[in-house]
Amino acid sequence: MSMLELKSVLAKKFAECISNYTLKNSNELYIEVDSPATYDICSYIYQELGYPLISMFAADEKQLINSYAVYYVFADRQESLLLIVKTMVKPDEMEITSLSKIIPAADLYEREIKDLFGINPLGHPNPKRLVFHSNWPDGKYPLRKEFNLKQKLDFVQEKISFQKVEGKGVYEIPVGPVHAGIIEPGHFRFSVAGEPIINLEAQLFYVHKGLEKLCEGQSIEKCFYIAERISGDETFTNSLAYCQAIEKIAGITVPQRAQYTRVIFAELERLTSHLGDLGGICLDTGYGFATFQFRMMRGWAYNLADELCGMRFLRSVNKPGGIRKDFMVGKKSILLKYLQKIKKELEDTVDIIKSHSMFIDRVENTGILKPKIAADLNAVGPGGRASGQCNDVRKSFPYAVYDKLEFEIPKHYNGDVNCRMNTKIEECFTSISLMIQAIENMPEGKILEPVTKVEPYRFAFGMTEAPRGENIHWIMTGEHNSIYRYKIRTPSFCNWPALCHAVNGNIVPDFPLINKSFNLSYAGNDL
């Protein structure tokens, strides 16, 4: 459905409830909705139009409109269209009607909004705290503008409760938050009957740093560095999403050469990340040889990043408006050399692991995420694509120059570890091919169109396909080139609940393997 058709459909059906239609940045349609009608309109959009809820967030707009605003972001991935339902929440009401019962993906967003803004989702099936654990005092909502970041809060002693599974022989295994490997913290509460897992509840947000609050009031230059540090292994993609949002607000067209360079770095980051994941999958099955093959290739990819920009983790490559330096001058031969080396080694290794029957036996039918659940939870990235959710921001909302490059999105339907692994393997080859296409077609020219002044109270989405999936940043600018509200929704936030579903019915010793096949970020989720 095109933008105009959509507008007329909505206008016909909900004429009196929708007060305002605004089209921003060519594909973001904002509709302002009276709060009593929000539930009906959102359920209509979700159920009748079939648009998934891809993000949902609130903003404290008391300075502007004397109320809080809640944004429900729906996406039409075929038409590259974002439909944003905006509803006001008056400071003396602070309630919304929960959508979780009809839109399962809304569950976590509503709990997040409740913790950060104190907006209560009425009728929520599981209104447990999400961002803050029970030691956070009541009535403190950090994303309200009046919340003082410098204050010291009381520590509340309270017992953490988990979903209870009862029955003969059922017991709980608490794992974490501190784990044996060098990984981030997260608590997993397994309810098991012997080895099979009945239920898994993940308690995350141990590394909640208050990034969104920290960004508020910062200059757009400074905020860039925070965006880059959201999650260590998604540096480039997060900085790119940030830059794209700022560029849209500033109305800047980024020079072509910078766009091609961005593709190369974004794909290099994906390649590195996927190679690490593949190594992890092999490690968790005790396949030492393949593990170290993938680690070696990942090392090459890091070395390549170092050769290209002097930084293995791709920091400070981007800049709002383009890239900092013309990194690709004279780098074509070294890039191609590395990519050929990685490609050959990858082909050989994949041949070996795919013909290893014991290994395939481990990954096949382990941790199945059913397509229906994946769709309901809006599972994104390789985790979603392995379960029939064939969406990729590079295709559905093309950015940089992805619309000029040729590539295919892998499709798998079984949703097991094997499918996720194959998705990642195929994407590694896609990334290599995209990098080669980008360097071959890269034009000469400018690399930066500087962002000087941005208008206050403008907003835009910056979307990228992170290695882990759909990455959505929403920025509203404030006065004097500052950030008024910065909402980050990383792919990990969508996929953690999917992981908990994929684990059910498997046995405890297979959990690390399933977990590794998703390889979600804790920092990127906890923010």
Partner: protein
């Protein structure tokens, strides 16, 4: 006097060689992964370091937790006395047959599992239950295998079994021995907690079996636990090399020189077997926990075919 020498030789050789096996195993694996790896004698340093360290003991644990490392080590060492490393001293061995060996090791295993439950930690219980499952699955295979050998040798004493195979030429040319040998290899892998049954190098507690049981141990206690496990592993390897790959019959010398020569051969064979085990670990991946019964069943079938063939072939080789 002869017994004293025998016991001394057994203890010294077993204790000296046991850590080397792990070292060689890790070195071979490292080389397969394009790594240099630690030197083969790394485990000696590790044990020395751990023995110097203090132990941290949970204050909710009982005496079982503190006693278990010594019991595990002591039972392993006692088991080692029943498996002669060289037959050149075998005229003077201490009484006891392979049934005693199996169950003396089971005693150590029992205390290890009890100690893992004792602290009430998350992973200890999981380790214990998995260990109990695997050991009960693998026990029939080892018993049937050794019974077969005992029937051929007409004795359940391991020194006599080892002596008897030396008179049979090349044991591995005999179908009975081949079946039993393959069963014993699987038993060795399971008992030594090697891939594909268990992954000794994993950091993932949820997948661990043996490692999960000793997670709570530190310092001296950990040293004894690890040393005990290494000795137990070496016992099974000794059985394997001395029964199926006998070389002592080629040593025609006598006296001290024969013993030394025999021991050198023994160490070389152990090194070869350690490398072969490492190769098996490299070539396989860890089985799904619920597939381990299939492997145990395979071991049992092989052992059972061995004993069947013994009866069909009429007294095996003899």
């Amino acid at each position: 006097m002869n017994n004293v020498i025998y016991i001394l030789v057994q203890i010294v050789v077993i204790l000296a060689v046991a850590p080397l096996v792990n070292g060689i195993n890790r070195k071979v694996k490292a080389l397969s992964q394009k790594r240099k790896g630690a030197p083969p004698w790394q485990m000696y340093f590790d044990l020395y370091k751990l023995l110097k360290k203090n132990t941290v003991v949970s204050n909710v644990s009982s005496w079982v937790f503190k006693a278990a490392p010594y019991i595990v080590f002591a039972t392993a060492l006692a088991g080692a006395l029943l498996v002669p490393v060289t037959s050149k001293l075998a005229g003077s061995h201490i009484p006891g047959d392979f049934i005693l060996l199996i169950y003396i090791l089971a005693l150590g295993r029992f205390f290890m599992m009890a100690a893992a439950l004792d602290t009430g930690s998350t992973f200890g219980g999981m380790g214990s239950s998995r260990e109990a499952m695997i050991s009960s699955l693998i026990e029939p295979s080892i018993l049937v295998s050794l019974f077969t050998l005992g029937l051929i040798a007409r004795s359940f004493s391991l020194p006599e079994i080892i002596m008897s195979v030396q008179n049979t030429g090349i044991p591995l040319s005999n179908p009975v021995y081949i079946m039993v040998f393959l069963a014993m290899v699987i038993v060795l892998i399971a008992e030594a907690c090697r891939i594909p049954v268990d992954d000794p190098s994993t950091h993932l507690e949820l997948t661990m079996i043996h490692e999960a049981m000793i997670l709570e141990y530190s310092g001296r206690h950990l040293a004894f636990m690890e040393y005990g496990a290494a000795v137990k592993q070496l016992i099974f390897m000794t059985l394997l090399v001395n029964i199926f790959l006998p070389t002592d019959q080629f040593i025609t010398l006598s006296g001290l020189l024969a013993v030394v020569l025999s021991l050198i051969m023994y160490v070389l064979k152990i090194i070869v077997v350690a490398m072969v085990i490492a190769m098996i670990e490299i070539k396989t991946v860890k089985l799904r926990l619920f597939s381990i019964p299939n492997l145990a069943a395979l071991a049992f079938i092989l052992a059972f075919l061995g004993i069947l063939q013994y009866f069909i072939l009429g007294g095996g080789y003899a």
